[in-house]
Assembly symmetry: D2
């Protein structure tokens, strides 16, 4: 099972067209990223406030919107990180409806509502240059991918 | 036990002072309101898009901020609704740190981090006048308060 | 003439009820506060990131919502700061429709759409205690109020 | 001169890393889109609430982030729409610092801070199928591009 972040769409995420405002979908994805980082005991406050002099900013993002999301919808974000180079990684996010309780498992193969990607580069704040991914991040990418591997 | 909404503070809720932006605390409170409405099977999408021709807008809000909240903080919002008149009700929200697992129960009596209030008036969209609270809302207020009553 | 912040309501500020989400009105007010601070050459980035070891957090807020605001509405926020004590000040905000170009001046006496208040306390980040308002803030309060005084 | 949307970065757009939160850059771009639509007298409220039974949802977005943006920064968003097919168009956005007053014109050729793209498909809400771009939108794309053409 890959890492899944479950969430209910909230009213403040909708707009006057009655559906989730496009850019808020990327916020949902970042929330999934935060939840996934927390599973390996990365301190979110220190990590995101760049307390250790290392920043990991998003340098690129993309998203495709297939179906609108509405207030009260229960959604699941599946997150898959992938190392791209010594200094960088990307995360893909697939947003689907949460499978309803008691439904047969093949319901999980439903068509996604949206898809997104974020690309991150590890940066030393003192030198203002790229630096190799920290061991914490390397371990995190491996740990999240290990979750998704089939168990014999 | 009163109704409690548990949440982790997310990065997008913080600002450049490193803490939750003041108005986002009211968003957290509204999320708790949505979660509480869902416990009595009120359809959130229909309710908030005012599908039935009835709106329940917030006409007043207040908040006190005692301590800053940071990314990754696990907080609990305790919500208490109270009917004010035939047409209106208010909700008070107390935001605290989530009691840590395994801690003695007196830890729950901790000082709140923030407090807020929202006042709501039931309005008929056709006549543009106040109307009595719908039975759904009257039942909801009772149901949430019944949760908080001590069991003999 | 008091300090006025003009703004057009943007789509992301609306929700599925078709109007501005309640807490976003407080964001509009904070924008007016930022614009007003900039008129006396307070560096917004340094001020809000608390670079000088001084924070001026909002400890209390209140708002009344009289009429809904919609995407594309041109609004005006009138801001009035007032010193409350050695350490604190409050700001009141009155949100109205922008008077239409070419309209007679009495149109400006229109009924406000909303009203809000924020209360701020000057805090020393090292001692974590209240401290007197900085001279910059004292000057700012005076300057904004001087704008509003009638000219003989 | 192409269409330019000028804006000051506000505190609520920053996060605990001290810079603009990545997804808020797309909100800035959508604001520029709204401002550009208003130049040809498209009614924003009717357009975005899909009053005429026609929706123009964003189906894809992309962004590149070159430099962080901070509270108080004065930025300029240059927007260029382009028709893609009978039913669809895309907009590219280039975000730069606002050229400082009194600076020589070549300052405007500065390196952008960010770049983004949104792709929009015209949809009939009744049939739930694609439909040709409305004449209003076709005219708008032409009008914005005409602005950018050099005058002999």
């Amino acid at each position: 099972m890959p890492f899944v972040y479950d969430r209910v769409i909230r009213f403040h995420e909708t707009d006057a067209a009655g559906v989730v405002y496009f850019a808020r979908l990327l916020v949902l994805c970042h929330e999934a990223y935060e939840a996934a980082l927390a599973t390996v005991n990365i301190d979110l406050q220190a990590f995101f406030s760049e307390a250790g002099g290392v920043a990991v900013p998003i340098v690129h993002t993309e998203a495709d919107f297939y179906q609108p999301l509405r207030c009260g919808d229960a959604i699941a974000v599946i997150l898959v990180p992938k190392r791209l180079s010594l200094h960088s990684f990307e995360i893909t996010y697939t947003i689907s409806s949460q499978p309803l309780a008691g439904n047969p498992p093949d319901k999980t193969s439903q068509k996604p509502l949206a898809w997104a990607l974020t690309r991150h580069v590890c940066t030393n704040l003192r030198s203002r240059r790229r630096q190799p991914l920290t061991p914490d991040l390397v371990d995190w990418i491996e740990a999240v991918n290990a979750l998704a591997e089939p168990v014999d």
